[in-house]
Symmetry: D2
Subunit: 137 residues, 4 copies
Amino acid sequence: MDHDAIVRDSFARQAVMGLIGASITRVERGRVEIELPFRRDLTQQDGYFHAGIVSTIADSAGGYAAYSMMPEGSSVLTVEYKLNLIAPADGTRLTATGSVIKSGRTLSVCELRVTVLDGGEAKLCAVGMQTVFCLRR
Amino acid sequence: MDHDAIVRDSFARQAVMGLIGASITRVERGRVEIELPFRRDLTQQDGYFHAGIVSTIADSAGGYAAYSMMPEGSSVLTVEYKLNLIAPADGTRLTATGSVIKSGRTLSVCELRVTVLDGGEAKLCAVGMQTVFCLRR
Amino acid sequence: MDHDAIVRDSFARQAVMGLIGASITRVERGRVEIELPFRRDLTQQDGYFHAGIVSTIADSAGGYAAYSMMPEGSSVLTVEYKLNLIAPADGTRLTATGSVIKSGRTLSVCELRVTVLDGGEAKLCAVGMQTVFCLRR
Amino acid sequence: MDHDAIVRDSFARQAVMGLIGASITRVERGRVEIELPFRRDLTQQDGYFHAGIVSTIADSAGGYAAYSMMPEGSSVLTVEYKLNLIAPADGTRLTATGSVIKSGRTLSVCELRVTVLDGGEAKLCAVGMQTVFCLRR
């Protein structure tokens, strides 16, 4: 099973990623990275990336990290996640990383990290945890 | 203080709401509702609303519910939130409601509920909890 | 199936409930209540109920609320929970209520509420959300 | 400021730690570890450590990790936390570690990890995230 191709193929079918301009920049077994350049139409009232947009790429990064470890033919669903927004998402690019902490038969648990590139420095702006469900055929 | 006008004014400055097509449909003191019609470019790999899009309107609904109870001149920041996606967001329109459970001097806590309109019936698809920070001038 | 007896029987086997002095005071289908009188040896550094003790009864209340809706012979496991401590747990008795929001085949989601009795008044001190796993025989 | 002594002194005033038999085994700036040997009266219905007991030491480990970085004379309060119970807490000893991810003026965010010693091996059984409030004099 080529988990890289399967993850990238599913990502390509997430139409919202095209809308916001996100791309998948790294796929390893149990670890996926998604990047999103700043655009004015992704912001909240103060001009930073909206927390929901931060969540959108964090959720997909975690979901695909879990998916990369699932048996062929599985589907992945987010059960729940929690995100702490520890600094304003103020910068030119977001990078979300999802890493599998526990890969189970039915449930997986992922750690989520989002950094924002601000004047050349990647600053941690959100940390989270996610539970993902594996639907088998 | 006209909390309705202040909330709607800030919402209008959330550029991402224009991008996804969300509108604020109800503003009460401590309770705000946001609606979002289905569009193909808001979906995940199975054609449902992406969890991040569900989160985007849920986070704003809660943030503005808290904001509607803050003193004039405050700013609002999401500290953290947690969302359980209890059913596929499969339908023609999402409605997110944020309701304040506790409004404190510095921190407020909100309950988040998102329903999806599916064949005339509003089905609960996400429930969450959110902590919001009040920045005073 | 007598869900009341099955829940009370399992609760009686939670040895920690005896240690802290908690009792189950209400069992309905999808809703369970647990009470805990104040004792000095349940406190944190300021003399209030420790957040972990608040969690202990909240987690069991939610778990048993979910369990009361599961098929006979199931076992219940907490997948995860999140608790917001919205006021000091300062008073003479805690009451935790778990209510099922969604009862699924494998996963259930519960709302958790904890009040503290303070001078005759029950004050909300914690709110939470919990995901529970149903293990079938 | 001797953060080690201040943390250990506050821990000694958490009466619940005496009740359950927990001890603080490591205090560094931004990182605290608490251990808890197995006892039959700390268990849930299947004979494992109850999730609330896991939470009790995890919450204190995180709270004290944050406290160890606060200015002298501060008080610490848990705002909220979320815990994923990724394996049964089945073993002879729990070790909870709280590590500060972000230490802010008012709010800090900690990562929580709990392992259970099972046949000589420390197995990760819970992971969490916590938000802590710093009350200044």
